[in-house]
């Protein structure tokens, strides 16, 4: 029996003068067949398609890169894992085992951190939505409460009246760092004096311990310079508090916002070539602090709440091609089994997507659609993509941040999430949903049954 040749669907492509991918020079799209040594086809065979895959090794490696960048430049640095970015317990535990505290923005996240074994005095409690009960609990546990607005400040003052413990507080400061739009909806403004006013009220109340200053200047910051501006402004506030009240601020929290290597929609160059390194962010922040008027013998601890830049690279989505078809304008479209319901970040990013099996150098401009019966369900508007057939597998890279928290249960159920541990063993860390997972929360009134 003769062996048959590998088949690829026939295509013909018009050559446009002036484009770089002239015939014969077209770079072949790389393939990704394994994640941390585990074959993607094996993962799909065992855990179904699609599936989220998280690499523990990459999380630990990235965390240690970030930590090294800062701790080689500044005496005392502490990361707090930003829960909202990915609050799967297994993921949080990996960060905690590396020494990260927890940064939370709701009662739900707060309770999750406590359940993960994080004591209150290693929790930074951010956000505009802390209920009275949340605040009472946080005071009892000795958590660091980052005040967002005056109403919260007054509420906490009244809690402090009856509480046996003194609240430990920081204020969130928003400011002009030269980056627009300005994130002025959270915290107290620096330029108009509101932040200074809040600090005075806290100090004069004598009911709380002012321990920190916090800011989060934005997300996916494509240059480190605004961090230098922000760090200088926080240092300046700390120095003023010290001068006026002889009170040392214990920490300066620079929030999150470092860009991950994903490419933003509409960006001309890929993110991995343009986004600053941890070293560049660290250089900007630590120089600003070191060159400030802060007392060099009592430098505040530098807190970082880095989210996406620590987890994006560790996450993958693996899946299967459902169909190919040609649109009325002649463009190829490919329908895959991952939609925007589980890849929320495809609204922001041109996600990298790769075949998992050897392909030829031929590729066509392709629109990649998710499986949802909705116009918004587009994974890539246009990508030069090899000629995958129905049932072929693919992998989407750098999806670890925000997708496993901002996903929507919409039209399909959420799939398995698989962790590859540092020894290359796989573990389900979130089981795929069943109809029962959803209907168990529903109630049908008796008369409708």
């Amino acid at each position: 029996m003769t062996t048959k040749k590998r088949y690829e669907r026939p295509i013909i492509t018009k050559i446009n003068a002036g484009v770089t991918d002239k015939f014969g020079m077209r770079p072949k799209m790389p393939i990704i067949s394994k994640i941390e040594g585990v074959a993607i086809t094996d993962i799909i065979a065992k855990y179904g398609s699609p599936a989220f895959v998280i690499s523990e090794k990459t999380i630990r490696k990235t965390y240690n890169e970030a930590k090294r960048a800062f701790s080689t430049r500044y005496p005392n640095v502490q990361f707090a894992w930003s829960y909202k970015t990915n609050y799967l317990d297994a993921v949080c535990q990996i960060f905690h085992s590396e020494g990260a505290w927890a940064e939370v923005v709701s009662g739900f996240e707060y309770d999750k951190a406590i359940a993960n074994g994080i004591p209150g005095n290693k929790i930074l409690f951010n956000g505009p939505d802390k209920s009275k009960d949340d605040l009472i609990k946080a005071v009892e546990n000795g958590a660091f409460i980052h005040l967002d607005h005056f109403d919260e400040l007054y509420e906490l003052l009244s809690i402090a009246d009856t509480s046996k413990k003194r609240p430990k507080v920081a204020i969130r400061v928003n400011m002009d760092t030269g980056v627009y739009p300005l994130w002025d909806r959270f915290g107290f403004n620096y330029e108009n004096g509101e932040a200074w006013n809040a600090l005075n009220r806290i100090m004069l109340s004598e009911k709380m311990d002012l321990v920190g200053l916090h800011t989060h200047i934005g997300t996916y910051m494509m240059t480190p310079d605004p961090y230098a501006v922000a760090a200088s402004k926080l240092a300046e506030l700390a120095v003023r508090v010290d001068k006026k009240y002889n009170h040392k601020i214990k920490y300066i929290d620079m929030g999150g916002g470092f860009a991950s290597k994903n490419t933003l929609k509409g960006a001309y160059l890929p993110g991995k070539d343009t986004c600053p390194s941890f070293d560049q962010y660290a250089e900007a922040i630590t120089n600003a602090l070191i060159n400030s008027e802060l007392d060099p013998n009592k430098m505040p601890t530098l807190f970082l709440e880095t989210g996406r830049a620590l987890i994006d690279d560790a996450g993958y989505l693996v899946g299967t091609v459902l169909a190919n078809k040609r649109l009325s304008n002649g463009r190829r479209s490919m329908i895959v089994d991952v939609g925007v319901n589980m890849l929320f970040t495809s609204f922001w990013y041109e996600h990298e997507i790769y075949p998992v099996k050897e392909v030829s150098a031929n590729a066509e401009d392709t629109t990649i659609y998710g499986p949802l019966c909705m116009n918004i369900d587009v994974i890539r508007d246009v990508i030069k993509f090899p000629l995958l057939q129905k049932d072929d597998n693919y992998v989407i890279k750098r999806i670890g941040a925000y997708n496993m928290t901002q996903w929507m249960q919409f039209i399909t159920l959420r799939p398995n999430i698989v962790l590859i541990d540092i020894n290359g063993n796989t573990h389900i860390i979130r089981e795929k949903e069943t109809n029962e997972s959803l209907t168990s929360h529903e109630r049908v009134p008796a008369y409708l049954k």
Partner: protein, 80 residues
């Protein structure tokens, strides 16, 4: 269906249309089909050839083949 007779197909799968001045590239299977069409092979001969020689299911090939022919028509490279 026939390739229009002044269309040039090179060894490497390069197609030149002197009427429009456009050029095109073909992948291996596309080149195979175009060559067979210019040899005057019929659709069913081409289909049988592919089923015999390539790892492909009949329905997949039929779909891909008819779509490919539509593309050739759209590009004005074939005539009835």
């Amino acid at each position: 269906m026939k390739i229009r007779n002044n269309i040039a197909v090179s060894e490497t799968g390069f197609v030149f249309d002197p009427n429009s001045g456009d050029s095109f590239t073909l992948n291996e299977t596309g080149k195979q089909i175009l060559n067979m069409l210019s040899e005057g092979k019929t659709g069913s001969e081409i289909k049988h050839f592919f089923i015999e020689n390539f790892e492909v299911e009949v329905t997949t090939f039929e779909n891909n083949f008819s779509e490919f022919l539509m593309m050739l028509q759209g590009l004005n490279l074939v005539e009835e």
